[in-house]
Amino acid sequence: MTTTLHSPPSSLPAPILVAHGVRKTYRTAAASVDALRDVDLDVAAGEFLAVMGPSGSGKTTLLNCLSGLDDIDEGSVVVDGHDIHTLSDGRRTRHRAASMGFIFQAFNLIPVFSAVENVELPLLLAGVSAKRARQRAQESLERLGLGHRLRHRPPELSGGEQQRVTVARAIAGEPQIVWADEPTGNLDTETAATVMELLRDLHRDGLTLILVTHDPAIGASAARRIEVRDGRIVSDDRQD
């Protein structure tokens, strides 16, 4: 096992994500907190990266800032050749729709949409025709074993099923990167293992996966692990 900081080895494909000098500070009336401090990170296409660290270390903030969900105070984040924080909100949103998928701990499905409607959402946003979007959403759900739950709404699904719908939604648009923030945090051990197996399968198929977790067992399944403490990346371990 080798340890490098901030950059992939030269044998890997060209980086799909390059972050440089990223700083993020949360300011409140009472105090300001440096959530990210001069973070540099390159992620190669097809990598499976686990972001680890204790609670409050800045893992989720890192994910939000790198994916463009949140603004940064300093630095740059280039995803697939686009410096996303220099883009307008509209362009950044469109870029996100076209190239990223998200999996959240709390599932965050739209409760008034059925499973298939939730999954087809990013496809429709990316401009796919309604018919084609529905077909691909169904295929994604069937692939994840939810072919019998297409018309069910989230409150009618179990936690594991909801998370699988979330995974289906994240991959339906065939994004270049999938961001997963504690994807198994709300699941029991057995269901968590199933979901992780699913994610590993997707990675094996070539998906770039960036996963935030505080669970070492989950992190161990990633080929590369970085550890965040006090807003800094303190270690970057790659398992060859």
């Binding site: 008034v112 429709l124 946003l125």
Partner: protein
């Protein structure tokens, strides 16, 4: 206020003894100040509307009561007789009674006559004139001491000397005269030049008047002046009116309480002297009370829709609050808070809102009443001007506060009881409630509702009771839903019951006209509620189908359409409540707009109905009537009918044999030849001509209007039918005549009198039956309005008031339209409730969907699309509500026209322009109300929303 105190006791207990619940409630209020403000706004409008209705009643009643001061003062009764000789005998008898009676403190002989009064210009021709002033002869010394309090008599100085006149304030203002100015009085075909001696305040005896409205156009002259005019003049005229005024012991208002006892004493004292007794002050005060109550009821009934919208808003907000706080509520229950504690906390929060809203609403109601009184002043101005004096009685404000408060507290308490029924685990995990299976309790409930409905049908329909007839069948079909829930599809059941209820509520008036004949306004309120409730239930049950259709129309790919429709379709209760609010308010607004247009757009048809074969009418002074023969020879005049209008009293089966004041009109053959008022019930006659000719031939026959002896607005109440017997009494001589109703004429703006033959009237009234109204048919090509002006100028000395029928109808329709406008404005307040409700829902929607908006934004949903989705959501709900309300209103108005409720030939027409403005304005304002929350939603930053949520 006792009700408020009693209703508040449990809440005061919670405040004092349950600190946790108190803290929960108060901090929940402080937590969302903007939403708390909107809740208070929605609730206070209900109180404001109720209080405003009371204040309108107070104002009307006080204004009429004020006439007791300005037009009567110490005068409580008037005893009328027909000649000066009889007046002397009458005065002697009543003076004797005054000496003996403890209840009477004065008698005062008065002689009056209607006359034209003019101010001559430099050329001797009238410069300004009043065609129908009252000339009064009274002894000023006696008048000043009459009743024991000179200050309330308005009489100042000595009795005018010959050639001098004391002019009442109103007439002086009308003519623009001051002391020293010349004045000419025209009566009985003669004239008298006078000099204004002084101006008298419009008060008491100086303001004495029995004419409608608040004005007293009096000129006081020396005793004997009228008799001289009668001697100098000539022709067929009404002699001066001789009467004796009676003052009861007591002040202006409390003296009227002795009217009944005094009346008995007077009747006994009169013996065989032919005289009529009129309890003028008591009648006026009774009328004030009745009119005040009538207007309070009218505005309360109309405003009830808005009050109901406010109740729906409260329920909706509380249910939303409960949904938002569901996990908290679950936790509270988990750590030991009892269900009653949850109810107490929510209800206490609602009690605080209710208390503040009722207080502010009562104050706003006073302002609202003032605005209505201000607008109504214009409506009540006109020939019979009615001075509105703004008045607020403390009990009215207290009642408005108490009713508004009670409605709010009952609403929030019942809602709290409902929403506190939670499953602890599902609440903590924020899981939806599972679909409910039909339970025994709902079966029992359904059976009770069906039974109650059946009972109402069984008693109401045969008994022609409107409320039971209207609601009975609706209850039966509504109760069938829970009963059949186990065996039939819920959507089909509710849809079927809703369609049946809708059909019944729309058509009941036509199917069972007997039950709704003369229906009161609250019946229409119940109908409106049934209609909107049924329609909202129908639409709510079929929202998925409506949504699918709209999605198809909007294109499957439009995410804004998908998302905008998804929430209203999923949150059926919430959407249903907003729909109900909008539907109720829009229903009333559109209905009143359509109704207003039905009347105002048909001026030509109304004119034709009212005018018959004539084009204009000339009313004139009974003391100096316009000569019909002379008018007949005027160029442009084709025919002249002579009519005699006189005050009368009628006793009918409708009045239970009691005499009520109305008018009687004697008609001649020309009136029948040229085309009299249309008849809508011919009785036993084959046509109108036969009916009128029978009246001309038979002095025992009468034709009455369908508004005969009716007051107020709306459709006529239970009216007479041909063949019924009524009694006509001359209020002066007391002579009576039994009459049989030959036919029923259409009500008209110009005359709702009872038609008898001129000969019959003269037989009963003697020389007081004077041809004081002429109907004129013009020659072809003559403009009736121009001819009316010419006749006015020619017969000024006769007090001529000539108007074309078109002008009369137009003026009446204009007043009616203004009144409808006033009601529209009042109803529009309900829109504020509806729009505030939509605003609250959208504000809360943004808050509760913050995380979902964050997810959408993370997935690539642009800010503008988020805004559009929220706007579309409110647009969808507002559009549905507007569509339901408008469709129901148009259907109801059409049904009313089709059933001839307002006459058998009212043509149905829609005011497309006005409706378009109303609908578009409501829609646009609704969208604007949600612009701010929609904008806020679009500004939700995805990472922040997700972080806060996770």
């Amino acid at each position: 206020m006792l009700v408020v105190a009693v209703a508040s006791l449990p809440f005061v207990f919670v405040v004092a003894r349950r600190p946790v619940l108190r803290r929960l409630a108060l901090r929940s209020i402080a937590r969302r100040p903007r939403e708390s403000s909107l809740v208070v706004l929605g609730s206070l409008l209900g109180t404001a509307i109720i209080t405003g209705s009371f204040v309108v009643g107070d104002t009307l009643a006080a204004s009429l009561r004020q006439d007791a001061v300005t037009k009567l003062g110490p005068i409580d009764e008037l005893v009328r007789t027909s000649s000066a000789e009889e007046q002397d005998a009458l005065t002697a008898r009543l003076a004797d009674l005054d000496r003996r009676s403890e209840a009477i403190d004065g008698v005062l002989p008065l002689t009056t006559a209607t006359a034209a009064v003019a101010v001559p210009g430099p050329d001797g021709q009238p410069r300004r004139a009043e065609p129908a002033a009252t000339v009064v002869e009274v002894d000023f010394g006696g008048a000043r001491s009459f009743g024991g309090d000179p200050s309330i008599t308005g009489i100042d100085g000595d009795t005018p000397r010959s050639g001098r006149a004391a002019v009442g304030e109103d007439l002086a203002t009308e003519l623009g005269v001051a002391p020293g100015d010349p004045l000419t009085v025209y009566a009985y075909g003669a004239q008298r030049e006078l000099v204004v001696d002084r101006i008298l305040a419009q008060r008491g005896v100086a303001g004495v008047s029995e004419r409608p409205g608040s004005n007293s156009l009096n000129v006081f002259v020396a005793p004997g002046t009228l008799q001289q005019l009668v001697v100098e003049g000539s022709g067929d005229t009404v002699p001066p009116s001789a009467s004796v005024a009676i003052s009861n012991r007591g002040g202006v208002f409390d003296a009227a309480t002795g009217t009944e006892a005094v009346g008995e004493e007077i009747t006994a004292a009169l013996g065989q002297v032919p005289a009529g007794l009129a309890s003028v002050k008591q009648d006026l005060l009774d009328q004030a009370e009745a009119v005040g109550a009538e207007f309070t009821e009218l505005f309360t009934s109309i405003g009830f829709f808005s009050v109901l919208a406010g109740v729906l808003l409260l329920v909706n907000i509380f249910v939303m609050l409960a949904q938002e706080r569901k996990p908290e509520m679950g936790m509270l229950r988990a750590v030991g808070l009892r269900r009653s504690g949850l109810v107490g906390s929510f209800a206490l929060e609602g009690w605080c809102y209710a208390l503040v809203a009722a207080g502010l609403g009562a104050m706003a109601g006073i302002g609202l009443g003032r605005v209505i009184a201000g607008v109504a002043t214009d409506i009540f101005s006109g020939d019979e001007a009615f001075d509105l004096t703004f008045a607020v009685d403390a009990p009215s404000v207290q009642n408005g506060f108490a009713i508004g408060f009670t409605i709010s507290v009952v609403t929030v308490t019942l809602t709290s009881l409902w929403i506190a029924r939670i499953n602890v685990i599902r609440a903590i995990r924020d899981l939806p409630e599972p679909p409910q299976r039909p339970r025994a309790r709902s079966l029992v409930g359904g059976a009770v509702v069906v039974t109650a409905g059946a009972l109402l049908c069984a008693t109401g329909i045969p008994g022609e009771e409107p409320y039971a007839t209207l609601t009975g069948p609706v209850l039966v079909v509504s109760g069938l839903g829970p009963l059949l829930a186990r065996v039939a599809n819920r959507r089909l059941l509710v849809s079927g019951a809703s369609i049946a209820s809708l059909a019944w509520a729309v058509s009941a008036f036509g199917l069972l006209p007997g039950a709704f004949d003369g229906a009161e306004i609250p019946v229409f309120v119940v109908q409106g509620i049934l209609l909107t409730a049924s329609a909202v239930a129908l639409v709510s049950q079929n929202q998925e189908a409506i949504g699918a259709l709209l999605r198809r129309l909007g294109g499957g790919r439009s995410m804004a359409v998908r998302l905008g429709l998804a929430y209203p379709l999923a949150r059926r209760f919430r959407t249903g409540m907003i729909l109900a609010m909008y539907s109720l308010v829009v229903f009333t607004l559109v209905f009143i707009t359509v109704l207003s247009n039905l009347f105002s757009s048909q001026i030509e048809r109304f004119t034709a109905d009212v005018a018959g074969g004539f084009d204009l009418q000339i009313s004139s002074n009974s003391a100096n009537p316009v000569p019909a023969q002379e008018v007949g020879t005027t160029s442009g005049v084709a025919a002249v009918a002579t009519l005699a209008d006189a005050g009368a009293e009628f006793a009918t089966p409708m009045t239970n044999g009691e005499f009520e004041s109305w008018f009687v009109t004697g008609i001649d053959e020309v009136f029948v030849d040229e085309g009299p008022t249309a008849l809508n019930d011919l009785g036993r006659f084959p046509d109108a001509d036969s009916a009128y000719r029978a009246v001309l031939a038979d002095p025992r026959l009468v034709i009455v209007s369908d508004f005969f002896l009716q007051g107020g607005g709306g459709p006529p109440e239970a009216a007479l039918v041909p063949g019924q017997s009524i009694t006509l009494r001359d209020p002066v001589s007391g002579r009576v005549r039994q009459l049989t109703v030959a036919a029923i004429s259409e009500s008209s703006f110009a005359n709702d009198a009872a038609y008898v033959s001129l000969a019959s009237l003269r037989d009963l009234y003697g020389p007081r039956a004077v041809a004081n109204r002429l109907l004129v048919a013009t020659e072809d090509g003559v403009d009736p309005a121009v001819l009316a002006e010419r006749l006015d100028a020619t017969y000024l000395a006769n007090g001529a008031d000539a108007e074309s029928f078109r002008t009369i109808v137009a003026a009446n329709l204009s007043s009616q339209t203004q009144f409808f406008r006033l009601m529209q404005g009042y109803l529009a307040l309900g829109l504020v409730v509806g729009i505030a409700g939509l605003g609250v829902v959208m504000v809360r929607a943004v808050r509760e969907r913050r995380r979902q908006v964050g997810v959408l934004r993370a997935l690539g949903y642009e800010a503008g699309a988020v805004r559009r989705a929220f706007m579309l959501e409110s647009a969808f709900v507002a559009a549905e509500g507007i569509a339901i309300g408008s469709a129901l209103a148009v259907a109801t108005a059409f049904q009313i026209v089709a059933n001839d409720t307002f006459g058998d030939d009212l043509a149905f027409a829609l005011p497309w322009g006005q409706l378009a403005v109303l609908v578009v304005a409501t829609f646009v304002v609704s969208i604007l109300a949600t612009a701010v929350p929609a904008q806020q939603a679009s500004h939700v930053r995805p990472a922040v929303a997700l972080r806060l949520a996770d």
